[in-house]
């Protein structure tokens, strides 16, 4: 019997080219795309980067609507920045609505800014869509490791992320249990104004916190009983390996982005 791995966040299991890339490659290349997005100004450059992101989406075999879903939280920001550019930028008049003057320059700048935001979100969410949280954490730990010399606790950060991921389902289950227990005793979480409802949450949060601290305490003892003593001298069962695919992807994408930045 094979079970799907934990689905926390938005990871979509699969075996596409993007899924097979090392998490470090994916994180670094998405960063490269972000940097490129902020260093270009011509529409042609945006077009080139846009093509790259779309090719990546196709290569990930993640349903397009899942990628677009990642844009939902920023729809408001998108519209706002577009409108601000359209009506506030000085330039040649396009049309007038009430006392607001839309300009040709504003329209161009609004569109490129929106494109920049959309591509940024798509590129980064593509990483989390194709990388399981565990592998992502491993990759992050490896990437941050060199910064240990300046005091960045890379291993500890990764361990914290792992434990947080591990306990999200457990604490959700517990919250549910506590809520049901309080409801059985007549607690009401659904009526009243915002403040009343916030107050109703207190009897849930207090036991939840108490139990979380108790769990943390017991987990620490259990970890030490299994010889955990920090990152030093620790090995990992799963080894991240940079392969030919990573080299090809890295060289290809970096060359393409350089072209997009330099050509226009």
């Amino acid at each position: 019997m094979r079970m799907p791995s934990v689905i926390v966040g938005q990871y979509i299991p699969g075996d596409s080219l993007l899924h097979r890339l090392d998490p470090r490659t994916k994180i670094m290349l998405s960063l490269a795309i972000v940097v490129a997005l902020f260093s270009v100004h011509s529409q042609w450059s945006y077009m080139m980067i846009g093509v790259l992101v779309l090719v990546a989406v196709a290569a990930s075999r993640v349903p397009f609507k899942m990628v677009v879903r990642g844009l939902r939280p920023i729809v408001f920001i998108l519209l706002l920045t577009f409108m601000l550019h359209l009506f506030m930028d000085p330039g040649e008049e396009l049309f007038v609505v009430w006392r607001l003057r839309a300009t040709r320059e504003g329209l161009a700048l609004g569109l490129t800014t929106a494109a920049r935001l959309i591509l940024l979100i798509m590129a980064t969410s593509l990483v989390t869509l194709t990388t399981s949280p565990i592998v992502f954490t491993d990759g992050l730990e490896k990437l941050l490791n060199p910064f240990r010399v300046i005091g960045l606790p890379a291993h500890e950060l990764a361990m914290m992320m792992t434990i947080a991921l591990r306990f999200i389902p457990t604490l959700l289950e517990e919250t549910d249990k506590i809520m049901k227990a309080q409801m059985a005793r007549g607690a009401d979480f659904d009526s009243g104004g915002l403040i009343t409802r916030a107050k109703a949450m207190i009897p849930i949060l207090v036991p939840l916190f108490v139990s979380a601290f108790r769990r943390a305490d017991e987990l620490a003892v259990a970890m030490e009983a299994r010889c955990y003593r920090g990152g030093a001298g620790r090995t990992r069962m799963r080894q991240l390996r940079l392969g030919a695919l990573d080299a090809i992807a890295a060289v290809g994408v970096v060359a393409y982005l350089t072209a997009a930045v330099v050509l226009f």
């Binding site: 019997m1 934990v6 259990a222 299994r226 001298g233 069962m237």
Partner: protein, 285 residues
């Protein structure tokens, strides 16, 4: 031969402010020899869990010394050797699983020991086979039942190749099915893998399967011997607020009413055999 665990004149006091000192252990002496399956029983607050936590240096004695294969648990330089020799499984399965998947969690111990990656893989597979959890490698802890989680915790300890496993009430939070699963695994460790097992429990029926039963009361060792020996005195057990296994109780009541029971039966099967022998003996006469 040096026993796996040697507890010498150990007392332990929980410090809870000036007035709230609780003496959990009082001058306890125990030797656990290699390959023996020991059950430690006692009612709540008898000190059995405190005793367990001394066996791999989670707690250090207030007075006296604990030795693991001759290593004093006070010796900080030996701490990780001690914890590798004596593994520990805790009561709450949820609060001892560290990783987000079963195989990652079993790998956690060997990873801490710095075992090479391919060797960890091998140990994880072996350990999961031993606890009957192959096929669940990628499952998340929240997808497992209590008994399954507890078996994963046992696998996590086994993968560190300990000589001894201390289980601190591993079945206390499980349903009957989960309990049976865990007990079957524990028995297998003791009988097939030759691992020394110290099983802390308050279920009498679980103590029956051990080679040796230690009964704790009020921080002291009240009874210590083979299960037949310990359960042959139901009155003493009842004084210690412990139940006697039902079959043993039945046999005891029978012998009080004049039936000559040949031994103290520990299982239903044993009792049935004895009764059968008695009855056929009577009819033969």
């Amino acid at each position: 031969m040096e026993p796996i665990i040697r507890i010498e004149n150990v007392s332990y006091t929980y410090e809870g402010g000036e007035q709230d000192q609780v003496e959990a252990l009082l001058d306890v002496n125990v030797r656990v020899d290699a390959g023996v399956f020991v059950a430690v029983i006692g009612h709540n607050g008898s000190g059995k869990s405190t005793l367990a936590k001394h066996m791999n240096a989670i707690l250090l004695p207030t007075r006296g010394d604990v030795y693991v294969l001759g290593m004093n648990t006070r010796d900080r330089s030996m701490l990780w050797n001690i914890r590798q020799t004596v593994g520990m499984v805790f009561q709450n399965p949820d609060n001892q699983i560290v990783a987000t998947t079963v195989e990652e969690d079993v790998a956690f111990g060997p990873e801490n020991l710095g075992v090479p990656p391919h060797e960890i893989r091998r140990r994880v597979d072996e350990a999961l086979t031993l606890v009957d959890m192959r096929g669940y490698e990628q499952a998340g802890p929240h997808q497992l039942s209590g008994g399954q989680k507890q078996r994963v915790a046992i696998a996590g300890v086994i993968a560190m190749r300990p000589k001894c496993i201390v289980l601190d009430e591993p079945t206390a939070m499980l349903d009957p099915v989960g309990r049976q699963e865990v007990l079957r695994t524990v028995r297998r460790l003791a009988s097939e893998e030759g691992i020394t097992v110290v099983h802390i429990t308050h279920f009498m029926s679980e103590a029956v399967m051990a080679d040796r039963v230690i009964v704790m009361d009020d921080g002291r060792i009240a009874l210590d011997g083979g299960p037949r020996e310990v359960f042959s005195s139901p009155d003493a057990l009842r004084r210690l607020q412990l139940d006697v296994p039902q079959v043993t109780e039945l046999a005891f009541e029978l012998s009080r009413r004049g039936v000559k029971m040949p031994r103290t039966p520990l299982t239903v099967k044993e009792l049935a055999e004895d009764v059968d022998a008695l009855l056929s003996g009577r009819y033969a006469r």
